[in-house]
Amino acid sequence: MNHPVLEAVRRRVTRRAVPLEPAPALPLDAPPGSEVAVQRLWASWTGIGVQGVRCATEAEAIREVVARLRERKIRHVLTDARTARSYPGLIPALEDAGLTVMGGNLPREEGPRYLGLGRWAMAEAGITDVVAAFADTGTLWVAGGTGGMRCASLLPPVHIALVRRAQVFPCLATWLAEARASGALMEWVEESSAMIAITGPSRTSDIEKTLTLGVHGPKEVIAFLIEEAG
């Protein structure tokens, strides 16, 4: 690869050896899915303003999701094919509750794409599954990829995330180590144009350093922690 900028860099770099400092301790060292990790996740969610709901089973979680949507008088929900695959009972339950479920793929042609986005923007809540959750920061790790919609956790004012206990990692570093070793990291990179670490509701302190939620993204993030394995 050649370009004057790259050539200029090549001429000037020192290529000196830099001693690599020892790896620092992990932000949290606990087995994935362990009670320590779960307790810390719960505390982190409280700290960053995520509303946590613990459920024993997938069915209970879906019932609770519907209840939360009804409480907020929500009528339009945005979700994606991957979440529907991970939680097969979700869309039927939403439809049974009289909610309009939006999803599918955004058209690639400009006009239809614009119209599709406009429709999605009417959704009052978005529901997604997660790749993982990180206990040390309370982060929800979501992804694009096959059937994975970026807009569902972004456009609506309420984001509902479904997290299984086994998906609770102590921190991003631990997830990376495991995903690197298993090859999952490179699979995600190939398949998905976006992986997003969501750590609480959209926020700003740009006016007088006063915290305000929901400036562009969701104002409310509700995370359901499901004990049952998928």
């Binding site: 000037r12 793929n105 490179m186 976006a194 670490a197 926020r203 700003t204 562009h216």
Partner: protein, 468 residues
């Protein structure tokens, strides 16, 4: 030319005399420092994380060619387009031409310091393309027709009353002093911009070389909007922002948000790799990564190279007593504060070396820097380089004489006695209040005590019973 220049002095005076700015700085900056400190207390092995972060930056900059080439190759392998911009002009031309060729009338932009550095908004608007800043702080600044005064909080100098008036005028918002209402007004106005824009422009916090992944750190969600909703995403990235691996990015993320806003992680940390895939429901159809040099490569392999380690957290601004006194606009640069004073003259046409004098060299910036950049040393280096070219003849001769005397103890002792005698004659009531010649500038703002008798040297000699 004097140091600092009259224009710089004037900006400093404006900053000091601006009561609104002073109030805003006093209100906002201390809370930054408190939250940053708390965030690092909660991070296990924090000092080791900083050491590791520094080593990652040092290693990357020492092998920048290798990682840049890898990064560019991986971006293109996954469907992105890479444009190498040697200058600000080349970067702007590329983006303007791209927008024209795609018929783009409006661009939604998230915060990007590089875009400010290269004057992108001006270039786009000169070409008839509307650019809307979507970060709340940047949006306020754009409506006010001003420049950001802080890397992380661009409108830090604005009070809620000023912002309310701006939003009433430009957004038709009813009068209010409630910040949530102002934020809601901005959300409504900008939501339509996100949906309508055919191009989104973002900055890049880190570019991961091994996969060509862009890492963007935001809180509001506008960064996600501009990189997701418009069909074209243009990412502007300084060439120094590359890191080798995901694990390296993770280490840097441990210190970035903590240093910038006192959060463990910001609300959104996006890892973006290429445009929308065939099986993905959404995302941009095109991704263009503009790698901007604009003078950066000139400094590789020089003592100022360490300034390229900077991860733009803005912590050194908050720690700096000079920044806290004069605010960001006084620097007259896109990059204010201690690190800005080093970086500004490294970029573009190289103007701004006088900013190196906007520091007391107290070292608070180095202390707080998450990657331990020796900012005071680099500021002194700039002063040396500038002084070498700007010192008047008499001062250069004076310094040479001083250096000669300092190397010869007997000459030093004689010169000292002579100088003390002169100062005693010039002083009144124990103080020297008006200097002569070059001393005048020094005594214009402070008094100098007349040397006491006996001189230390004489006292020491008599105490030891004679002999030096």
């Amino acid at each position: 030319m004097s140091i600092p220049s009259p224009a710089f002095r004037s900006r400093i005076r404006e900053g000091l005399e601006n009561a609104t700015l002073q109030e805003a700085l006093q209100r906002a900056v201390p809370s930054f420092l408190v939250s940053r400190s708390k965030a690092f207390e909660d991070l296990p092995d924090a000092e080791a994380v900083r050491d590791r972060a520094r080593a990652i930056r040092a290693h990357t900059i020492a092998h920048l060619d290798r990682y840049l080439e890898q990064f560019a190759r991986e971006v293109e392998r996954r469907g992105g387009k890479v444009f190498w911009a040697a200058t600000a002009r080349e970067a702007c031309d590329y983006i303007v031409n791209l927008a024209r060729s795609r018929g783009v009338a409006m661009v939604a932009k998230s915060k990007s310091m590089v875009s400010e550095e290269i004057g992108l908004n001006h270039a786009m608007e000169a070409a008839g393309i509307r650019v809307v800043e979507t970060d709340l702080g940047e949006f306020i600044i754009q409506l006010a027709g001003e420049r950001p005064s802080h890397i992380i909080t661009p409108a830090i100098h604005k009070r809620r009353e000023d912002i309310s008036k701006l939003f009433q005028k430009h957004l038709g918002m009813p009068p209010t002093d409630e910040i949530p209402e102002m934020t809601a007004a901005a959300r409504r106005a900008l939501r339509q911009v996100f949906l309508d824009a055919r191009m989104g422009i973002s900055g890049v916090n880190f570019g991961i070389a091994e996969t060509g992944t862009l890492v963007l750190v935001t809180n509001e969600g506008n960064g996600r909007m501009v990189t997701t909703l418009p069909p074209i995403h243009v990412a502007l990235m300084g060439i120094e922002r590359v890191v080798p691996t995901w694990e390296d990015a993770e280490i840097l993320l441990r210190v970035l948000a903590r240093s910038a806003t006192g959060q463990a992680l910001t609300a959104y940390t996006s890892f973006l790799t290429g445009p929308r895939r065939r099986e993905e429901p959404d995302g941009p159809e095109e991704l263009h990564v503009v790698l901007v040099d604009n003078g950066r490569s000139r400094w590789l392999g020089t003592p100022l190279e360490e300034a390229l380690y900077c991860i733009r957290c803005g912590a050194c601004l908050n720690a700096c007593p000079v920044y806290r006194a004069i605010g960001g606009h006084a620097y007259g640069s896109v990059y204010p504060g201690p690190i800005g004073s080093i970086v500004t003259p490294m970029l573009g046409d190289g103007n701004g070396a006088e900013l190196a004098y906007a520091s007391s060299l107290c070292g608070a910036c180095q202390e707080i820097c998450p990657v331990r950049i020796p900012i005071p040393d680099l500021l002194v280096r700039w002063r040396q380089m500038r002084a070498g070219s700007l010192l008047p003849v008499w001062e250069r001769i004076g310094l040479q004489l001083y250096a000669h005397a300092a190397r010869h103890p007997s000459l030093w002792a004689r010169a000292g006695r002579w100088a003390m005698g002169l100062l005693r004659r010039l002083g009144r009531e124990g103080w020297l209040r008006r200097g002569v010649g070059p001393l005048r500038a020094w005594t214009a703002v402070r008094d100098f005590p007349v040397p006491q008798r006996p001189a230390f040297r004489d006292w020491w000699t008599s105490r030891r019973g004679g002999g030096e």
